[in-house]
């Protein structure tokens, strides 16, 4: 069953260093297509590190790999992804008159990708 969670986009060290090497290089693609997830949430969904998951927002959907984090570091229900084309694909263009789309609090459904 898909579960609804909150996705936060942001920077990371590896996202920054791999960005310098190029956005079409393997490391940047890997970094920007990995979602960090609470380890207990992952266990409930039957997921382990490196498993593919589908994230779906009102604006689009992407497939990414998941990586577990402890509850101390990432509370249940929260997801973190390094900025990149995939995080943007889930973002809406509406800005509520501010110029800024919501990119640090995107409601997504999370679903393991079978096979």
């Amino acid at each position: 069953m898909p579960e609804t969670m909150t996705l936060i986009g942001g920077r990371s060290s590896r996202q920054g260093t791999s960005l310098c090497a190029g956005k079409f290089e393997a490391e940047y693609i890997e970094v920007s297509s990995t979602v960090e997830m609470n380890a207990e949430d992952m266990a409930r969904l039957g997921l382990k590190d490196g498993d593919p998951v589908r994230l779906r927002s009102a604006s689009g959907e992407v497939s990414v790999r998941c990586k577990g984090r402890t509850t101390k570091d990432l509370p249940p229900g929260l997801l973190f992804i390094a900025y990149g084309p995939l995080s943007s694909r889930l973002m809406a263009s509406d800005t509520a008159g501010s110029g800024m789309p919501i990119s640090k609090h995107i409601e997504v459904t999370v679903e393991p990708v079978s096979g």
Binding site: T6, I8, G9, G10, R11, S12, S13, G16, T17, S18, L19, C20, A21, G22, K23, F24, S59, G60, K72, D73, L74, P75, L78, F80, Y83, G84, P85, S88, R89, M91, A92, S93, D94, T95, A96, G97, S98, G99, M100, P101, I102, S103, K104, H105
Partner: protein, 445 residues
């Protein structure tokens, strides 16, 4: 390593808004590479290592075909001269000198001018206009701040030397023992790697920053706050009371805030609440607030666009005079609605960073891109021009995140032209094609 080595002292890193100007670079002139960047953080080392001269890059591409810079300038000028609603966007990773030329083109053709600030601290810019800013340079914070509150950001990964050069561990005139003389607080929705440097970590429920800031304002003023605040925000009242007292009792406090405030519900209201808290605290002590800025010269873009148009971003010059209206003239909105019939993108990658609707519109219109590297926007562009990297091959001026202007020192000669040179030549050719400004000045016949 060859024998043809050159040492460049006091060079500047333009990867992030810290703009550290104490880099000592070792340059291998035969290999066209920077082999060592002393004093650089992990991000700076990658920046210098990966921006050697790649002579395999074509000078330009027009509809995917290799072309000369001259041909690309002509094609760009034709697109801009014929556009009815052109957008000029980006500008946060280039020099102030190039930014000036972009503003001049916008003025000439009546373009919509916007920078990456609109999807960064644009909401904070709106809050400055509404609330004001109790500000300081990073040097003042380094030398004086005994309380540092980082809010909604993760400098350990995004701005590593903000901690070591300017704030947490830096020794200063009135904080001679550095870290021991400072109290460090981190407020965030997750325990990011920055929590490791904090004495106090305050974990807020997502989208509840505004409520926490408003409660702190009340506590600072001695007002009662309902203990139910913990159910709303996830932060116990006692934690907030302790933080409010620390803020009032410090000698010099600094709130350094990130996009955890601007990219979530509330946006400019969140930034405004934090700026108002800093102002309130000046009733009791000295307190300042600074947005932590991302790109190397995004602060320069704010300054250049402000001093030339009166507004920092999201400016439309279509009527011959500048109008500022976030939501209408900001690029994420404008492209998302399918507006603009041409785009000139300088040193930015909306083709990767914008919404799907905005990217689909960019695919429908003629796009011109200036960038040292191949980007997603470069792939969808009609004209892509390779330019030299600022701070490595291009001299000029950039603004640090605290609005301090810093001169760039070059390390590697590049066969590619600078953004400034390309934009200047596009401007001159557009002027020839239009015979002057497209939009007459106000009052002209």
């Amino acid at each position: 390593m060859s024998d043809n080595i050159r040492i460049i002292n006091d060079a500047t890193c333009t990867f992030c808004g810290c703009v550290c100007d104490d880099m000592h670079l070792t340059v291998d002139l035969d290999a066209h590479k920077i082999t060592k960047a002393e004093n650089a953080c992990v991000l700076g080392r990658a920046w210098f290592k990966e921006h050697g001269i790649d002579e395999k890059r074509p000078f330009a591409l027009i509809e995917g075909r290799e072309a000369s810079t001259e041909e690309a300038i002509e094609a760009s000028a034709q697109i801009l001269a014929n556009a009815r609603f052109p957008l000029i966007y980006g500008l946060s990773d280039t020099t102030c000198e190039a930014q000036r030329q972009a503003v001049a083109i916008a003025d000439m053709i009546g373009a919509n001018l916007d920078t990456t600030t609109s999807v960064c601290h644009g909401p904070s810019g709106m809050a400055f206009e509404g609330v004001g800013e109790s500000t300081a340079t990073l040097g003042e914070i380094r030398n004086r701040a005994d309380l540092l509150v980082f809010w909604g950001g993760n400098p350990a990964e995004s701005h590593p030397r903000l901690f070591t050069r300017y704030t947490v561990t830096a020794k200063g005139m009135y904080v001679p023992n550095g870290r021991k003389d400072r109290t460090v607080v981190l407020v965030d929705v997750r325990r990011s790697p920055s929590a490791a440097v904090a004495d106090i970590f305050v974990q807020v429920k997502p989208q509840r920053d505004f409520e926490v800031l408003w409660a702190l304002r009340a506590l600072v003023k001695g007002k009662r706050v309902d203990p139910n605040i913990e159910q709303v925000t996830g932060v116990p009242l006692a934690t907030l009371e302790d933080l409010a007292q620390r803020m009032k009792n410090c000698r010099f406090g600094a709130l350094l805030f990130g996009m955890g405030l601007t990219m979530t519900r509330g946006r400019h209201f969140n930034s405004g609440a934090l700026l108002a808290l800093a102002t309130d605290l000046n009733e009791y002590t000295h307190f300042v607030a600074k947005p932590v800025r991302g790109h190397g010269n995004v602060t320069g873009a704010d300054n250049v666009v402000s001093w030339q148009t009166g507004f920092p971003f999201g400016v439309n010059l279509g009527r011959g005079y500048p109008r500022f209206n976030p939501g209408e003239f900001t690029s994420a909105d404008l492209l998302g609605r399918g507006e603009a019939d041409a785009a000139l993108i300088i040193a930015a990658d909306p083709g990767a960073n914008f919404s799907h609707a905005a990217i689909e519109h960019l695919k429908r219109i003629p796009v011109i891109v200036l960038d040292p590297k191949l980007t997603h926007t470069g792939k969808l562009a009609r004209v892509a021009i390779t330019t030299a990297t600022y701070g490595i091959s291009v001299p000029g001026t950039v603004y640090r995140m605290d609005d301090v202007a810093i001169s760039l020192r070059t390390a590697l000669p590049s066969p590619y032209p600078s953004d400034e040179e390309v934009l200047t030549r596009i401007k001159e050719r557009v002027r020839e094609l239009l015979g002057g400004n497209r939009v007459p000045a106000m009052g002209a016949a």
